[in-house]
Symmetry: C2
Subunit: 486 residues, 2 copies
Amino acid sequence: MSFLELLPAKNGEEPTMQFLLEVVEILTSYIRKTFDRSTKVLDFHHPHQLLEGIEGFNLELSDQPESLEQILVDCRDTLKYGVRTGHPRFFNQLSTGLDIVGLAGEWLTSTANTNMFTYEIAPVFVLMEQLTLKKMREIVGWPDGEGDGIFSPGGAISNMYSVMIARYKFFPEVKTKGMAAAPRLVLFTSEHSHYSIKKASAALGFGTENLILLNTDERGRVIPADLEAKVIEGYVPLFVTATAGTTVYGAFDPINEIADICEKYNMWLHVDGAWGGGLLMSRKHRHKLNGVERANSVTWNPHKMMGVPLQCSAILVRERGLLQGCNSMCAGYLFQPDKQYDVTYDTGDKAIQCGRHVDIFKFWLMWKAKVCFYLKAENTEGSFLSALITNVVPIFSYQPQHTNVCFWYIPPSLRSLPDGEERRQRLHKVAPKIKAMMMESGTTMVGYQPQGDKVNFFRMVISNPAATRSDIDFLVEEIERLGHDL
Amino acid sequence: MSFLELLPAKNGEEPTMQFLLEVVEILTSYIRKTFDRSTKVLDFHHPHQLLEGIEGFNLELSDQPESLEQILVDCRDTLKYGVRTGHPRFFNQLSTGLDIVGLAGEWLTSTANTNMFTYEIAPVFVLMEQLTLKKMREIVGWPDGEGDGIFSPGGAISNMYSVMIARYKFFPEVKTKGMAAAPRLVLFTSEHSHYSIKKASAALGFGTENLILLNTDERGRVIPADLEAKVIEGYVPLFVTATAGTTVYGAFDPINEIADICEKYNMWLHVDGAWGGGLLMSRKHRHKLNGVERANSVTWNPHKMMGVPLQCSAILVRERGLLQGCNSMCAGYLFQPDKQYDVTYDTGDKAIQCGRHVDIFKFWLMWKAKVCFYLKAENTEGSFLSALITNVVPIFSYQPQHTNVCFWYIPPSLRSLPDGEERRQRLHKVAPKIKAMMMESGTTMVGYQPQGDKVNFFRMVISNPAATRSDIDFLVEEIERLGHDL
């Protein structure tokens, strides 16, 4: 069968339905395996192996069309050699898990195949976005959920928005005249903050040297006094990021204390809650973001702690009108002012994108089905995790603030070695070696990295509701099995 | 049934499969209707009507979870009140149509739910992206397909990349020191170019006043002499966009002549082929982009003329290393240099995003099934369209260069009116009135806008392989039916 038999071909309906149902059969089989602990997380191959073609899986784009039967084989192979990010033993990223309702939402989104720029062609999705953003702002704590916001393609872009809007608020003439119209501006963020703040400072024309890194305490939280010390060193202080849930440690910066300093020096306060924002849904844990309602803008990625399929990231802004003012260019072919409906619902001109993928529906659908649960339940537990780690050494002695658990595995050969450079150097190599073996064996996945003066350590993250205590035990045992003889 | 019964719940497999198959039933029913000309393109309601809730369709996020049965009803309603962008009579945007193979690819992508930043968790997709980008560069005409590139969330972001990379090429110190480290830079683009170039100039700190608009001829093509005249007026000329397929007219700027001037003044040449790039696949039409191989960067959106589902946009760069140099921040937790595989395949640090949606698979799958066809066939016909328009007045007398057909409908009441301000003012109101009635009746959709001194005119775009001559006739008849008595 060839694609020429599919719709819009004459009599294409039956072949189309048959083809799609066969695809769905492949996908549902994959979903079953994803949740099955007897399957592997991945079947690792090096790039050159996959490029050479394994068992006939040919990645090259030939000039001959393939039959639909071969297309189905390609689909199967693509899944076979991929990584099961929804597997209960995949602890590798902040975004894990495979939410079934969210997945259904994303399938529908693909089928609707429309664009968020105007109410004209996405009426339902535009309204869903507005209602959901309002709800999120209410949860942040802004009165009546007032303010503004937009869903963007990921937390890095959401953070970039925050810097752009802050600049527009204080120096609106930069939009037309460029950075030459502003004095020398500096931005502040934690030394542990996400690298997207650095990317934004480079892209938007501030320069990374004008992004001042703030010192943190042992748990990775910004020391507010350091902000104040650095604010008064000169230049015009514009913008501070407080991170709610740092990428590696899962630390929460003290927002209230930072907000006090921002008020004093008239700086924009952005809370990067890409990772930790989900805790706002938990009565038990939301105190970690105390003061978030004082922020001028908030990044919150439902695709992380809340388990929404990729991508789903919101930038929320307290003051209405800034997003529009900062970004609007009033393109005549899209945002006609003489439409018959209320054109304030054409939200596309707020974005730095033109076309914008529909990221809202899966989230809206999950909220309808379940997210409200979070508001009442205490099922975003994280701190219990550290208690489970027995044969490993946490990188610090405190309870983690979030579901990140950072630890070294010390192989027997290093246990009697005195602290010092040799031990550090050897320990630095342990995590990469274990990770490499782990990927080869394909049984589980966890990330590692160095940070500051700490040599390579593991960072286990729990954000997958499918992961249980036994899966965490499995990870720890697997690390021990693989690393015992190092 | 509640979401609590779905996977990862114990015994969740059967309810999960049942739920997903019911969703698929809803989606396939929608697909059937999309291609059925006896159905409407949309069932229009004003925002306040949808917000009030129509026939029980409640968009509000309540605090009570809904049953899965209700979730299925929500899915049905969401599609019911949306716009069928794949309908053969939807002519409203540059992206139209519903490609079945592409759709299957997007369903699989959602199910795999992974992230493009590392080979580690997206090995197959990362390789597919690299191979596809290389193929696209070959088609652009760069020797051996050398160069670089990345898929980005839409043409606006791709265009933004081009400006960033150009700045990095000539003034790399801006990355660390900000715009203060560069002289006053100017950018050039057509007065008819896409507004994203303007958005980029604002966002990146150039300022919109430093984006110089170039005059065009009657068909909307840049007049190269105007570029040269404006280059020598002062400031440091950095960057020129040549548009291959303008948004409204579908005009192709003369790339070779612009490239000559860019070489003379050492400026970066970017070709925005978001819309027209697809013609590179056609032996018959690719001459419209003659000279594209001289560009330093090219935007090309497979989600437009090539019918790939939203979103799928590539930024291609001729010189290797610039993307990485411009954007990399070497985040230790993602891009560990001590991984066991060849880490040059970790492409995430080239991006301004961190997490990046998998946009490649649907395109790769379509290419496998069919895109190669374009290389041989002449099925990207466009110029035949203008001949079909009989009862309307094209806004210019030439053949359009692309599948955009721009025209006024002149109602009988205006036909005898002499040319002048009254006629202009009345004609300006015709297209919005017809469009409003068209949306209310829901039978077809087409865009309109003013441009320069031309009052509101329709822009019909053909990019949907499902649209036939009879659909185009239908649109014209519908315009006449609705507008006859205006």
